[in-house]
Symmetry: none
Subunit: 243 residues, 2 copies
């Protein structure tokens, strides 16, 4: 069973929130469920008096929230980023329900930082933002009106994970050593330059190739040793192509 | 499995809410989870413009909410009233967790109206009000800070019941077109020959390289279009290496 510290290792990332009040309400929601780490990506307004008022007893958590400019900055050290989305995407990653996904999220959190990523109140996560997420999760809702308030979505996600943690059993994979977001980003950059060298990727007309590759790799939840394997292979291709 | 109409038969009763905004936010929370029947007992303020704004797409549900003076009036026709409380009471009824209680609540709702009763934001349900409830339920929370916002508590309760009822199907991964075993085998064979051509894989001493690649690809659950993308890339690498 994960200790409270497992939940503390799960961070909530709000990407481009519009309303400061929602940030405060999300902080309160987190604290009621035992979560502690809040990150804000390019909020339209910094937490203000309204945010502090809605944070209620979670004022310290709100005050400690770190702000950054790009989503990647909030994910650098994570072993898993979970993107919340109401709808399926074209670039099809499997959409799991929150409840279905909870055991895996908790098991990953036992190995390193995990991020729960929520998009803007009006338009959610962009495809680019979702591309940084290794798992796509939906809170099942009324098909006729599925628009949860942002803080309400954070409350439900934290509730589900805290509840699942109590009945949580076995880690998913054996002796694994998950790659961090940074490891995977470096792999993707490497892959991109190899594809450019081969002529397969035209930097002038990239299309959606990199986005599709990113998604595929995110889904694979690579281990560190696999990143190494793939980069070794790319290096060998590059060396041979240069001859 | 309960039908959506079972959820519609579960009403939410807010006893003496202080803030009209919370009434609106509770209405929104209900609708997102497929609930429809809201009752207000002696609200300090009737739903106003702020309530309507926070109800968002649930304005009709809010407008249809009935108001009464006493809790009993909102419970008359129910087969079960569930009182939500953060703490246990002297009047010792067993305090169950929401998740534990959900199956019984749903099964009762198949027989007649069920009420979920939430108390005032500051002091919760009085002992007298709890006395009208046949079941006492708690949303498990952080012992150091268990104060969920009223609408957040309604959101979690409705989410838990809707999830337990599994009354909404989750959208499946968008138009996907899973690769067959044969597709993946052909990809692996292609990958192997490209790695041999690059010198990265020594056919005389293959080690576990192919096994690891195979495992990684299996985990990614590739689509047909992704197999095509990867094979196109391998083909480009091969062509360039042959030059």
């Amino acid at each position: 069973m994960p200790s409270p510290s497992t939940l503390e290792r799960i961070r909530v990332v709000l990407a481009r929130p519009s309303h400061a009040g929602n940030i405060g309400a999300a902080a309160r929601a987190m604290k009621t469920m035992g979560f502690a780490d809040l990150r804000l990506v390019a909020p339209r307004r910094a937490p203000d008096a309204e945010a502090r008022s809605l944070a209620a007893g979670a004022a310290e958590l709100l005050a400690a929230a770190r702000t950054c400019e790009r989503l990647e900055d909030a994910l650098g050290d994570t072993v898993l980023a979970v993107g919340f989305s109401a709808r399926g995407r074209d670039l099809s990653q499997r959409l799991r329900s929150l409840r279905e996904a909870a055991p895996e999220i908790l098991s990953d959190a036992a190995h390193g930082p995990v991020a729960l990523v929520f998009g803007n109140e009006t338009y959610g996560l962009t495809n680019e933002e979702m591309g940084h997420c290794g798992m796509q999760v939906s809170i099942p809702a009324n098909p006729e009106y599925s628009s949860l308030n942002l803080a309400a979505a954070v409350q439900v996600a934290c509730y589900e994970l805290a509840s699942s943690a109590r009945s949580f059993a076995l880690p998913r994979r054996g002796e694994h050593d998950e790659a961090t977001h940074e490891d995977v980003e470096a792999l993707i950059a490497h892959w991109q330059s190899a594809m450019i060298a081969s002529g397969y990727l035209d930097p002038g007309q990239p299309g959606r190739l990199m986005e599709r590759l990113r998604r595929l790799l995110a889904r694979a939840e690579l281990e560190r040793s696999e990143v190494k394997l793939l980069r070794g292979m790319l290096g060998a291709f590059e060396a041979r192509m240069r001859r």
